[in-house]
């Protein structure tokens, strides 16, 4: 069975470490915050200028001056700090954020990512995504393995305009966990009940399949 959105977030959460500063993109990446292990301290960075993002406010706590990068009302966690957009991107671009999780339309075997623009559709902008992928060493891309027409999103070469070049090393899809190394995908884990054959058939780019591909554990 392909992973649900929640399971995808749970699998990504396994990559968290105690003391990590983490930036979570919009969509599935945001859900990762729900699966931080209890015995671990993680601080969430929101690129509009908040380090230490807390849960959504209660009705009484709603404050128009307190939002996240998705423009949702949020709270600050204990020990949070707030700063300007330049400071925020200094910590992102300067490589100070330990883990970045974001979605994508396509990823390729060179570690390129396309996530912001589909030619012919209205282009709304890249927001902070280009800075995030350029600045982070440790990036996890979360996405479905193939689009709704069955077309693979894991390719030898991205077809859409790039968000960043040569910056992606880890991908969690609804079917598999993969890494990128030496110009190819490496199949590291498969979703429970999903066959290697199905993953192979839905992967467009060159992929190394080890003799044994363990199932993900939750």
């Amino acid at each position: 069975m392909a992973l649900t959105r929640e399971q995808l977030a749970m699998r990504v959460a396994q990559e968290l470490q105690d003391g990590y500063y983490v930036n979570l993109g919009i969509g599935i990446p945001t859900l990762v915050a729900n699966y931080v292990p209890d015995d671990m301290e993680v601080m969430l960075q929101s690129e509009n200028g908040l380090l230490g993002m807390g849960p959504f406010p209660t009705e009484d706590e709603v404050d128009a001056d307190m939002i996240n990068a998705g423009k949702q009302t949020v709270t600050a966690s204990t020990g949070a700090s707030i700063f300007s957009s330049a400071e925020s991107f200094a910590m992102i671009r300067g490589g100070h954020v330990d883990l970045t999780v974001l979605g994508a339309f396509e990823v390729d075997t060179s570690g390129n990512i396309a996530s912001w623009m589909i030619p012919g559709k209205l282009i709304k902008g890249m927001g902070g995504a280009m800075d995030l992928v350029a600045g982070a060493d440790n990036i996890i891309v979360t996405m479905t393995h193939a689009d709704k027409h069955g077309k693979s999103k894991l390719l030898d070469q991205c077809t859409l305009p790039l968000t960043g070049a040569g910056c992606i090393k880890k991908i969690v899809t609804d079917l598999a966990y993969l890494e990128i190394e030496d110009g190819q995908f490496i199949l590291k884990e498969r979703a429970p009940g999903v066959s290697v054959e199905e993953i192979v058939s839905k992967t467009g780019g060159k992929m190394l399949v080890p003799d044994k591909v363990p199932e993900m554990e939750f």
Binding site: G49, P57, D65, S85, R93, K124, A134, P161, G166
Partner: protein, 232 residues
């Protein structure tokens, strides 16, 4: 003697000198921390052919979105736009130009502009459409693109508290681009929720020193919320 007193009595005075074709840098992220009064005054003045530098362009009927209603904006320099129908219509009709700029690069362009640095190198956007046509250079084995900084004829800024000398403090995430915009305007206008006497704000807590501020005005703010999300 006005000395360092930056207070102006009206939004007319705050935005005096704004002309067609000028560049205006605006603070704010989404609808959070936007200079509502200055934007309303620009609409009232009817200035045209403006270049607006701001992370976003408001929504239909609020924020910078109201400047689209009479087609006052010629060009937007932003990282994320199109939350509003009018924006989309004008963009598709070719009546509006958009220069999409990565958010961190946009912040740094303002910061550098205000700091007297004409350009800088960043890895952001290298190998993407953002890097097309820009000078590139390798440092320590990595490729970077050169980005030019931005200054504006006006900067419009939303602060929380200020003293009459124009020392400004921002509140929570309404800070965002505001302190950067404040440094990058030939004329910087700051509107705030409260103005106090010099000495009442702790100098240690000032975000924007008064040297950057030309005009200060006490405003009133609707503070509309774009995505109201609550927990039970």
């Amino acid at each position: 003697m006005a000395g360092f007193n930056k207070i102006v009595a009206s939004y007319e005075a705050a935005m005096a000198g704004l002309e067609d074709g000028m560049t205006v840098i605006a603070g704010g992220f989404g609808l959070c921390g936007i200079p509502e009064g200055c934007i309303a005054q620009i609409k009232k003045m009817g200035s045209k052919e403006l270049t607006i530098v701001s992370n976003n362009c408001g929504i239909d009927g609020f924020g910078l979105g109201i400047l689209l209603e009479d087609q006052q904006i010629k060009k937007m320099v932003s990282s994320y736009v199109g939350e509003n129908k009018l924006f989309e219509d004008q963009l598709l009709a070719g009546e509006l130009e958009v220069e999409l700029t990565p958010q961190g690069t946009l912040a740094e362009k303002m910061r550098a502009g205000g700091a007297g640095i004409p350009a800088f190198y960043t890895a952001t956007g290298y190998g993407t459409p953002v890097g097309d046509g820009k000078e590139t250079r390798e440092f320590a084995g990595r490729q970077y693109i050169m980005e030019e900084s931005i200054t504006g004829d006006f900067a419009i800024v939303k602060g929380w508290k200020a003293d009459t000398y124009g020392n400004v403090i921002y509140r929570h995430t309404a800070q965002n681009f505001n302190p950067l915009a404040a440094t990058a305007g030939k004329i910087t206008v700051v509107e705030v929720e409260e103005i106090v006497e010099p000495g009442e704000l702790d100098p240690t807590h000032i975000h924007t020193p008064g040297i950057y501020v030309d005009r200060l005005i006490l405003g009133s703010f609707e503070k509309r919320i774009e995505q109201r999300t609550v927990r039970a």
